[in-house]
Amino acid sequence: MKVIIHDLGLEYEGLIEEKCDRAVAADGKYAPCQGCFGCWTKHPAECFMKDSLQRICRVIGQADELVIITKNLYGAYSAAVKNVLDRSIGTSTPFSTYRGRQMHHTLRYGKHDLWKVVVYGEVSEMEKGTFRCTAERNAVNDGFERSEVIFLKDLAELEAAL
């Protein structure tokens, strides 16, 4: 399954839905993670907050290919996109293991294929480095075989990047 998380406007809705099996619009109409670990220890893979992200772990957890389209914010995902990712830690279990010679959580949904990040907006060389570093770490942490980061000069290039 190919899942796209994006912070684009409604004008891109058609294109996004055409290019994936499941689209998640990071519209900011949800609460940030409260750090309670309830999606590990109380009600696995489900958040106690009853908004559009309550079961986001189940969507991201079952993605073979995850594409994140985000505006650059200091070399990080935009706040709206990061909010979606913060609420998805239930894709793993609370148990720990070693992956890539570092400690990580074991995966609830098993291995995935590609963690792809498509960045738009003005971005410096330092910020590009941070994006690559983050995507690489995200892929290891979430059990994706590989990661890829694409920087768009213009959103007109978006269709080709997907």
Partner: protein
């Protein structure tokens, strides 16, 4: 000199970020202001505190290899505020994560560097801490040790008239030394950063962790989550099962 210490943990109480900021504040002189960043309602109050500050220390947890989303929202507002008011602050960062390797905080530290570059502030580095949750637990264990010492002293005084039970004090000293040892890396770097903050200089990026072997850490972390999951009931609700 005024330093604003911002606890960015979304948790209401008992967070590791508060513990590390408390330790950091022990090594900073001058005026210290403690702030809590949880919701957008906190933004205006914190920004006002920054107006006449010389340094700001962010204490925050690592979320999905980066800065938590509610902190990113604040940084966006802070950039505008600092530009509009021509603020020149020294920015420091204390990041902690639940894994044992402090180095896993690297992307988060880079985001703060990028933020400072865009905002025109001085990024003065910080400390990335591994095993933050477990280090936070050591402060509870220390309080438990004190309670046990007091209890043993009272019992000894009542039963034998001895106000200095040697064994109880020895046990307290041993356990406290062990807890202190776990925190040594953190104390070393936070004391160093405190000196640097006082001088208004850059500290660079340093990484440390709880001082125990990682396989022991993983064992204790797993036991911790089994107990919590038992108490909260998750273990009976498909704890390790795939969810549709």
């Amino acid at each position: 000199m005024k330093t604003v210490l911002i606890n960015c943990s979304p948790k209401k109480r008992f967070c590791a970020s508060a513990y590390f900021l408390f330790l950091q504040s022990l090594f900073i002189g001058g005026e210290k202001v403690n702030e809590k960043l949880r919701t957008p309602a906190d933004h205006a109050r914190i920004l006002e505190q920054l107006r006449d500050a010389q340094a700001v220390v962010f204490g925050l947890p690592l979320y999905v290899d980066g800065v938590p989303s509610h902190v990113l929202r604040f940084l966006e507002k802070m950039e505008i505020f600092c530009r509009e008011n021509g603020l020149k602050l020294n920015v420091y960062c204390i990041a902690n994560n639940g894994f044992i390797e402090g180095k896993q905080n690297e992307p988060l530290m880079q985001v703060f560097e990028n933020f400072c570059t865009r905002t025109g502030l001085a990024c003065c580095g910080g400390v990335g801490i591994g095993g933050g949750v477990m280090l936070n637990v050591t402060r509870i264990l220390f309080v438990v040790q004190i309670a046990l010492l007091v209890l043993n002293t009272v019992l000894s005084a009542v039963h034998t008239g001895n106000f200095f039970p040697k064994n109880a004090w020895l046990s307290f000293a041993e356990n406290t030394a062990l807890l202190l040892y776990f925190n040594l890396g953190v104390l070393f770097y936070l004391s160093g950063m405190g000196r640097v903050i006082r001088k208004g200089a850059a500290f660079g990026k340093k990484y440390t962790r709880i001082l125990i072997p990682s396989f022991v850490f993983i064992l204790f972390a797993d036991i911790f989550f089994v107990i919590i999951s038992l108490l909260q009931g998750g273990i009976f609700r498909g704890w390790l099962a795939k969810k549709k």
